[in-house]
């Protein structure tokens, strides 16, 4: 039963990924302007335009281009960045992506390592003492932070730590050779911004889910059995709250991979989201497609993991009758 459930989720994930690939392909082809015209600019003549379009494979019908692209993607070949083709020094998309993926994963990883334990701890603390000053402080501050857009948080942080105090650089400029302290200093501001933004949501979700479970009869039973409060929360309540909490964590991590455009832009951080924006600006469709596919895939993978966690944590599925 559990394997069927997991296999079913896996199948759904694959189908979703395929549907998404179709949508992305159609979407990018609907974007106005074509790359050949942009590349040639003023020098475009009908002949040179047609020649370049043929070179780029743009004269093929849409479904053929989709199939070719799908074939290449499935073998790991994301194609060539269109932007370089006209000048003859086209680079492979994989090569462009690699350092960006590394940067993004590094940022995501650092944010996750700090925010998940902090969020769980604060959420549980608030849920353990509902209605107290601690709880009200946590609830109020997380609500305010959720309402603040991330660029505002980033701007405030820059104002405090870079402008007023002068402790940290205002942009996360990476030469690639930083290590240790320098790296931490460079990443501190974007990390802090993102930690604040994602933690707020995770704290609230943890608190709400655990509080909801805390009102169930089996918790009252545990109290009446003389179980200490800490054990009630950690053993009786948390185990039943895992599903929703893991899902919120997964959604937030997925957002960190692809949704942090503004934060990356503010700190000039060379991550995936910024790459995609740049690619859109120059109509570099293969690169846009590749980025979009990565974002969607990371959502799907993370949600799949979260689903698995909730399925595995459910004894009804682990031990059918």
């Amino acid at each position: 039963m559990i394997w069927r459930a997991l296999l079913g989720r896996f199948g759904i994930s694959i189908v979703t990924l395929w549907v998404v690939s179709v949508l992305i392909f159609i979407g990018t082809n609907l974007l106005p302007g074509d790359v050949a015209a942009i590349l040639l600019g003023q020098m475009a003549t009908p002949e040179s335009l047609a020649a370049l379009q043929a070179k780029l494979g743009m004269d093929q019908p849409g479904y053929m281009r989709y199939l070719m692209w799908l074939r290449d993607v499935s073998t790991g070949d994301l194609g060539m960045s269109k932007a370089g083709i006209a000048q003859g020094n086209a680079s492979r998309i994989v090569d462009i992506l690699e350092p960006r993926i590394f940067n993004t994963l590094r940022l995501t990883g650092m944010v996750a390592v700090v925010s998940i334990p902090v969020a769980l701890a604060l959420g549980l603390l608030a849920a353990m003492h509902p209605g107290t000053r601690l709880d009200r402080t946590v609830t109020f501050s997380t609500l305010s932070l959720i309402s603040l857009p991330d660029f505002l948080v980033a701007t405030f942080l820059v104002l405090i730590f870079a402008v007023q105090l002068g402790w940290l650089p205002s942009i996360a400029y990476l030469r690639g050779a930083e290590s240790g302290w320098d790296l931490i200093k460079a990443l501190a501001m974007p990390c802090l911004t993102l930690i604040i933004v994602v933690s707020a949501q995770m704290i609230r979700m943890t608190r709400a889910t655990v509080l909801n479970v805390m009102s169930s009869p089996y918790i009252e039973m545990a109290i009446l059995k003389g179980v200490p409060r800490g054990r009630i929360i950690l053993r009786h309540a948390l185990l039943n709250a895992i599903g929703p909490i893991v899902n919120v964590i997964a959604l937030n991590l997925a957002w960190l991979v692809g949704g942090v455009v503004i934060v990356e832009q503010i700190f000039a951080y060379p991550g995936l989201a910024k790459l995609m924006i740049d690619a859109v600006l120059v109509r570099d469709l293969p690169l846009v497609q590749a980025c979009a596919m990565i974002f969607c895939a990371s959502y799907i993978v993370l949600i799949f993991i979260a689903d698995m966690a909730s399925i595995v944590s459910n004894p009804r599925l682990r031990h059918p009758k």
């Binding site: 009869p217 039973m221 009446l224 059995k225 003389g226 200490p228 009786h236 004894p315 031990h319």
Partner: protein, 604 residues
Amino acid sequence: MSALLEVDELWISARKDDESLLPIVKGVSFNVDRGQVIALIGESGSGKTTIALAALGYTKPGLEFAGGQVRLEGEDIITMAPEKQRALRGQKVAYLAQSAAATFNPSLTIGEQVTESTVLHGILNQDQANERAEFLYRALELPEPERLGRRYPHQVSGGQLQRLMAAMALCGKPDLLVLDEPTTALDVTTQIEVLKAFKSVIKQEGSAAIYVTHDLSVVAQIADQIVVLYAGEMQEHGSAKQVVTQPGHDYTRRLMRAVRPPPAAGQGEETLSEHQRQAPALEVKDITAGYGKIKNGASAITVLRDVNVSIERGHTFGVIGESGCGKSTLARVMAGLLPATHGRVFLDGRALEPALAKRSRQELQKIQFVFQMADTALNPRQRIDQILGRPLAFYLGLKGKDKRRRIGELLDMVELPQDFAGRYPEELSGGQKQRVNLARALAAEPEVLLCDEVISALDSIVGANVIELLKRLRKQTGVSFVFISHDLSTVASFADAIVVLYAGRVVEQGSVDRVLSPPYHPYTRLLISSVPELRVGWLEEAMETQEAKAGIDRLVKLTETGCPFFDRCPLAIKGTCDQEIPPTRDLGGNHTIECHRNEDEFLP
């Protein structure tokens, strides 16, 4: 020797939104001696659970102690430090809740939950606690005691969970058990088994107990002393025998009257013949239905098999059986909520479409459903007049003044004040909500009313009042009722005809008088003999009957071959009953029994 627990002038109040206090328990005093079972009895809102929880030094959120003492072995537990209270809970005083299904944590193993408190309090180490738990599983006659601890709550039946909760409470050898309606949610057959287990274990362990219930018949079986409560005040206090045989207080006598007599022939009301016409109001022919994916014209799980029933116009048709026998499924098929895979439903002799969506508005109007839980059946965001107005507008096209007038009439009909029209369901009590639920169904002016366990969630007095209302409505309107209940006494007092379902098959049907008098189908006999009677000592007698020994408290199993009741039946014939589908025996007067045994072999 002083009493184990002394409740002394106990006051408990609810804190309202405006911070003012509303007393819920008003100066209640009683003692519990060692080894004694004391019953707190009263309807919901009488404060009985609140008092019982005070024995653990606990109040539900929103309530607080407002005066008096609860002394355990001379020490007041209300003013005790929280750490000391905690040490006491589960060790000296243990609690058993009403719904075991909700009280067991779904994510932890049964063993961990049963032994948790004992191990945490340092009474036993984990190995010793596991041994003790296994000993208790055996004492409570639970299956596979050596492996039970590693299973999860969803893997055992409701009756077993209820007994497991007893094991959980008893594991730490408490001096005092607090039992909060521990059998109310169970089928009669399961209830009798659980009661027996509780009684013998309490005797064995020598613990004292506070037993909370609204059911006097149950109390008579288990209690030494009875405290009768009404609106937080003590009405009567005395020995069980004395309270049951010579109730001193008016309210106790009202409670006694609400206890329906054991089901027997001659209790049903003769229905007026003026409503009778030729064709039955509703007829169900050869219905087979179930749940899950339909493959080759059959559901994955077939619940109902070859069910034939017909409901005379203006009559009440009772459907009885334990949970899992297909009672609600039958109603859902009639209403079209669950299309049958085989067979037809006829209304006034005309075949209905199996699925609700394909039935015409008139057909929908003629069959109305009254659900068990008025709490969930009524939209909490709609006022009563909106709830009642919807069917009036939808089926009858009433608007404005006519609609308002009709809503008023409907409220009158179910004996609710007119100004309830402007209220929301949450402002009503359980019984009042059920009345609104009924009025909503009646608003459509139906010919057939499907009532699914409509009084099961209500207290005995409130339930008895709703039954009186139903009887009156039947006379007034001439509506035919399909009355589903696992409570045989209620059906016996209200229905004209009864069908007994077991595992989706009709095992017996006929007029009330015939079904409830010999010859019985063995299953009907088991059901009848399991209904608790209001007298001390009934439980012991009941456990000695042949049915009880053969077939109480087994899960209802759906079978493809033979008679499903085979493994619980005292008259089963091996090689026949488990192989062949039983024949239908016609005993005359539309009374049929499906059994391999013939008329002379049935037990009286």
